[in-house]
């Protein structure tokens, strides 16, 4: 490919911890190869150079939490041929969505001495709730191997091969004995999207769903299993309300149990 025709890559940041874009820099063995295949046109975490758009591929990290960012994502969509969201914040609003269940003004006064200086929306929202997204890569943080798969798929014009099945499949592949069945440890693995290689059960703890809901999760069934294990309703609500708490299946499940608590 002619050097001048390398596809232009842009990496954008909204409200987030920077961890998902760091995943790209953490590809220590592959970074320079990637940099040889695409033109890194906009990636402020790594470079002070800015090449003007339009961009062939935009990776977007972080959630929309300010009026200004809501406008900015529209502009980014316009200058991006393909837009891929990376991580829990961008795909589901992230841990910031814990505010969505409360009154944000209360939050502001807890953290800041002079709330009048702070501008924020009352909800943290995913990128897809604002603009069309071509592909969503889940995870808190995303897995760098999956990120390379997405980049490779883009370069070759094919669909990324990122499985939508649950963490349970990864546990079976890894040969990890089920922590819920064998040890009675509550585990969100059965409803959680694969991708991390089922790390938590391999380290003797239950999955806490930092990859969010799998395709068609049966959350109600898992909740009843949690009840068998003696998990209290308030703990169940909290389990579903973390990094993917505002994704539809998790939000509905947590709200169902929150209401039960009140009755």
């Amino acid at each position: 490919m002619n050097k001048n025709r390398k596809p232009k890559l842009a990496v954008w940041k909204f409200a987030s911890c920077d961890g998902c874009q760091l995943s790209l820099l953490n590809c220590e063995d592959e970074l320079l190869t990637v940099a040889g295949k695409v033109e890194i046109a906009y990636f402020p975490e790594a470079s002070s150079a800015v090449v003007k758009g339009p961009y062939d591929l935009s990776l977007v990290e972080g959630s929309v939490t300010t009026q200004h960012d809501a406008a900015r994502i529209q502009k980014i969509r316009k200058v991006s041929k393909v837009l891929v969201t990376i991580g829990a914040c961008a795909t589901a609003g992230g841990i910031q969505t814990l505010r969505n269940f409360k009154n944000v003004n209360e939050f502001i006064s807890i953290v800041y001495a002079s709330p009048k200086y702070i501008e924020t929306l009352d909800k943290s929202t995913s990128i897809a709730s604002h603009v069309h997204v071509d592909f969503e890569l889940q995870g808190c943080p995303i897995n760098k191997r999956q990120l390379l798969e997405v980049l490779g798929a883009f370069l070759y014009g094919r669909k990324p091969n990122v499985p939508a099945y649950s963490v349970c499949i990864e546990c079976k592949r890894r040969g990890t004995v089920c922590v819920m069945v064998a040890q009675g440890i509550p585990c969100l693995g059965p409803v959680t999207h694969a991708g991390c290689n089922a790390i938590c059960p391999a380290y003797n703890r239950g999955c806490y769903s930092c990859y969010g809901p799998m395709e068609t999760p049966n959350t109600a069934s898992l909740s009843s299993w949690f009840a068998h294990l003696g998990v209290k309703e308030e703990n169940l609500v909290r389990s579903f309300r973390s990094f993917y708490g505002y994704s539809e299946p998790f939000r509905k499940e947590s709200e169902a149990h929150e209401n039960k608590d009140r009755r």
Partner: protein, 429 residues
């Protein structure tokens, strides 16, 4: 005129990142503002009502670059609240995982974020075209740090194995052997890094700072110690709130922290080095001296050397811990929550990170306070610019911008991306 300038600043915010605002009038500097526009994320607020055991997983999400620092400050604060002591090999493993974070974070900063300033490139990828071996060494050094974090923590970013009381799972000694092999290479590479950074050109810029760091009687500080400064501060972590206070300035979403009655202070590698030189390992002290550093360094531009010295120390310390490691009987000690308040302060790569939590009888968090290093350094960064810019007023705006960016990157602000997006507005009247 002033109002007009503020409007320009809002445009900078449209780009959603940090900015620097500098005003020059009649050839003299009249205003400096470092603005941080990272949208607020309210961690302290939504920690309320969560269980103590969730704090390490949740606070890790404050920062993808230094999640271990957040986890370590959180677990130490909770253990302080519950009267739990973690010692022996579990304590050593906590130092080991922190070594990993220092290596990966410092190597990222030294090679990929700061070195391009000194060598005149926009980024490490451009730098790699002329200096491929150099960038490869940086990447592999960073990888060595990440391997420690990934092995002990489960993954590099937001590790999953840290808990209040210890770990979920601890390794067998033989499992650490491959890490040791890698670290021996890394220690050599770190020594090369110290030698190389010492050859860079540094502006002549020394200031009379108040440095603040943890001090431990026998060790270079990671997780424990008293809070000490070169100007007389010497307090226990529990008394942090008596000496430090955060101010909310209108132009920044990050709070400014000051020492009560005295003002700005300086945390991070330079502070640790200046207050703890004698506790570095002998080979690290020797390397620092060979690089021309004395046991005190007051030039923030030389922080790139000091950071390299700390990479070397972390490699050396990690090897020492692995060498003396024996698998503990249990991966964690028993934790019984109780109502109370706990305090934790650890040395993130960028400086002290303070956490304070109050919990109820069941260990549910009722109040949380978190002070990251970057908010503690903000005022010192601005002070540096007040002192630094007047010497370079004659430079064209573009060059002055680069100098200012470099001065800010000396501190490796945790919003390192924000300083890379930095927009400098020079208003010459």
């Amino acid at each position: 005129m002033k109002n007009k300038t503020i409007k320009v600043d809002y445009l900078a915010r449209v780009e959603g990142e940090g900015a620097l605002y500098v005003k020059i009038k009649d050839n003299s500097l009249t205003d400096v503002k470092l603005k941080i526009f990272e949208p607020p994320r309210f961690f302290e607020a939504f920690l309320q009502g969560r269980n103590y055991s969730e704090a390490p997983d949740i606070t890790a999400r404050i920062c993808g670059i230094c999640p271990i620092a957040y986890q370590m400050s959180a677990v130490h604060a909770m253990e302080d609240a519950f009267g739990v002591t973690v010692d022996g090999q579990l304590r050593a493993l906590r130092r080991l995982i922190y070594c990993g974070e220092w290596i990966e974070s410092h190597a990222l900063h030294v090679y990929m974020l700061h070195a391009p300033d000194f060598l005149g490139y926009t980024d490490a990828i451009q730098m790699a075209k002329d200096h491929p071996a150099l960038v490869q060494r940086g990447l592999q050094l960073k990888k060595a740090g990440n391997e420690i974090v990934a092995f002990l923590g489960g993954r590099e970013i937001h590790p999953i194995n840290v808990r209040v009381g210890g770990f979920y799972k601890v390794p067998a000694k033989r499992e650490l052997e491959p890490l040791a092999e890698r670290l021996k290479w890394a220690r050599d590479a770190a020594l090369e890094t110290v030698r190389w950074t010492a050859t860079l050109d540094f502006p002549d810029f020394e200031q009379d700072y108040e440095f603040v760091a943890l001090c431990h009687p026998g060790e270079y500080p990671f997780n424990e110690g008293r809070l000490v400064s070169n100007k007389g501060l010497d307090i226990s972590v529990r008394d942090y709130d008596d000496s430090f206070v955060e101010e909310h300035v209108p132009y920044s979403n990050a709070l400014h922290s000051i020492i009560k009655g005295r003002g700005a202070y300086f945390v991070g590698p330079l502070a640790r080095y200046n207050l703890n030189f004698n506790r570095l390992s002998p080979m690290t002290q020797e390397a620092a001296h060979s690089a021309g550093l004395s046991y005190v360094c007051n030039n923030p531009f030389q922080s790139i050397i000091v950071r390299s010295v700390e990479i070397l120390y972390a490699c050396d310390e990690a090897l020492r811990i692995i060498d003396q490691y024996e698998r503990p009987d249990k991966p964690s000690v028993q934790v019984q929550p109780r109502a109370g308040t706990g305090y934790g302060c650890t040395e993130a790569p960028r400086g002290i990170l303070y956490h304070r939590y109050s919990t109820d009888d069941n260990g549910v968090i009722i109040d949380a306070k978190i002070v990251p290093p970057t908010s503690q350094n903000q005022k010192t960064i601005e002070n540096d610019l007040w002192q630094f810019i007047p010497k370079y007023l004659d430079l064209p705006s573009e060059k002055l911008t680069l100098q200012c960016e470099q001065a800010i990157r000396n501190y490796d602000p945790c919003i390192s991306c924000a300083t890379h997006f930095l927009k400098l507005y020079v208003n010459r009247e």
